[in-house]
């Protein structure tokens, strides 16, 4: 029964992935890709990674789909490249051969993975009591591999700086993105009013519960970002101007607090990002709370885009 379920998910994943790549129509391909993202969530559950499944559901199924559909809508009107010819049959056969060779090489290396499988699970479990965190994934993210999480927090802020750097000169200092037009009494505005409060509560819950159960700041921040985007798309609020001090302060607060705690560890516990005994849990909570606004803002604002309107003077 479970085997049949797994086989079904796997085959459907492959079919949807292939459809997202091969479909003739751009919109059909994107819809296929969104369905693919949602199905991936199920695959993560079957692979027993509920934390990953939550992330995938929020990002792969939600934010990425919204972003791609919005982009395709803006490109549709005069997209010359949409009518550009596919390469000739020879080039396509060559590409297919190359892809088949790469896929076979990957499959072969998976088949020849060492037995027994290498794992860090026992070490993680053995070291977890010192952190007083109940969720092993959170323990890895903020304890044993905290440096990865720190670098990631910096990378996402850099991505937002990259998006902002595409602003036209005259729009610098103006509000982000375009003004959203939606009917004030339409379906979107109604949905935004009803859904946003519920989504914010669920987002905060997922954030808080992450210490002990599946969840955490990434999943919670994605949900909060999605709720703000919904309210923004419904025209109920507008994006902030790019030169707001509070905005910039909140964007760097998370990584800066993370670095500060890392330096504190270097002084107190002898290594960068080491936690002094007994202080691990409070410091992890401080990092999580500091990263939450940064991640929420970045995940929402990379979708809004660079400032496109001239500053109001």
């Amino acid at each position: 029964m479970i085997d049949a379920l797994n086989a079904g998910i796997a085959l459907l994943l492959l079919a949807l992935g292939a459809y997202a790549v091969m479909a003739k129509d751009v919109f059909a391909a994107l819809v296929g890709y969104i369905a693919y993202g949602l199905l991936l969530t199920l695959a993560w559950m079957q692979l027993r990674g509920p934390d990953v499944a939550l992330t995938e559901a929020a990002i792969g199924g939600g934010l990425t789909g919204a972003m791609l559909i919005a982009a395709a809508t803006r490109l549709r009107d005069r997209d010359a490249a949409a009518r550009a010819p596919m390469p000739g049959i020879g080039a396509r056969v060559l590409a297919a051969t190359l892809s088949a060779v790469v896929a076979s090489a990957v499959a072969w290396s998976v088949a020849s993975l060492p037995e027994p499988a290498a794992t860090l699970a026992p070490q993680t479990l053995a070291a977890m009591p010192a952190l007083e965190v109940g969720n092993p994934v959170t323990a890895v993210l903020l304890g044993f591999r905290a440096l990865d999480t720190l670098l990631e927090a910096i990378v996402v802020v850099l991505a937002l700086i990259g998006v902002w750097s595409l602003a036209p000169d005259k729009a610098w200092g103006g509000r982000l993105g375009r003004l959203q037009h939606a009917q004030p009494d339409g379906m979107l505005a109604y949905a935004a009013r009803i859904l946003a409060p519920i989504g914010i509560v669920i987002g905060m819950y997922i954030f808080w519960i992450g210490a002990d159960l599946p969840g955490g700041k990434f999943q919670g921040a994605t949900l909060l970002a999605a709720m703000w985007l919904l309210v923004w798309m419904a025209g109920l609020t507008d994006a902030p101007a790019v030169d707001r001090r509070w905005l910039r302060a909140m964007l760097v607060a998370g990584p800066l607090a993370f670095v500060a705690i890392g330096v504190f560890g270097a002084v107190q516990a002898g290594a960068f990002l080491a936690y002094p005994a007994g202080l691990a849990k409070p410091l992890i909570i401080v990092i999580e709370i500091a990263l939450m606004p940064t991640l929420t803002l970045v995940l929402a604002l990379v979708l809004v885009g660079p400032p496109l309107r001239e500053p109001e003077r």
């Binding site: 086989a7 991936l40 990425t64 490249a81 596919m86």
Partner: protein, 105 residues
């Protein structure tokens, strides 16, 4: 230790192949980006399958790859968003999203 179902090893490999094909043959940047994300999710799934192999009682999977996967998914999303913005910028400035040099397109 759990025996890994074969399809969770072979399907990611096939997804990587399919996505790679899409990156090569599609002329439109947005389609290339979707294909690139299919390759990425194939690689993530493979990593997830490896995490599942590393299960040790009482855990159902190795938490180290799972944590890195969460980081990876968030970073991949931010990179894709930056790519989408670059494509839109190309469209706004040149009127199309062709990757051909101007004059030949």
């Amino acid at each position: 230790m759990t025996a890994l179902p074969l399809w969770f090893a072979l399907v990611p490999a096939a997804l990587i192949g399919v996505g790679l094909y899409g990156i090569v043959v599609h002329p439109q940047p947005l389609r290339k980006l979707v294909s690139f994300n299919v390759v990425g999710s194939g690689a993530f799934l493979l990593f997830g399958a490896v995490a599942r192999r590393g299960a040790a009682v009482p855990l159902n999977g190795d938490p180290v790859p799972q944590a890195l996967l969460i980081t990876g998914i968030v970073v991949a999303f931010c990179a894709s968003a930056l790519a989408v913005m670059l494509i839109l910028q190309l469209h706004d400035r040149s009127g199309d999203t062709s990757l051909e040099p101007a004059g030949e397109a």
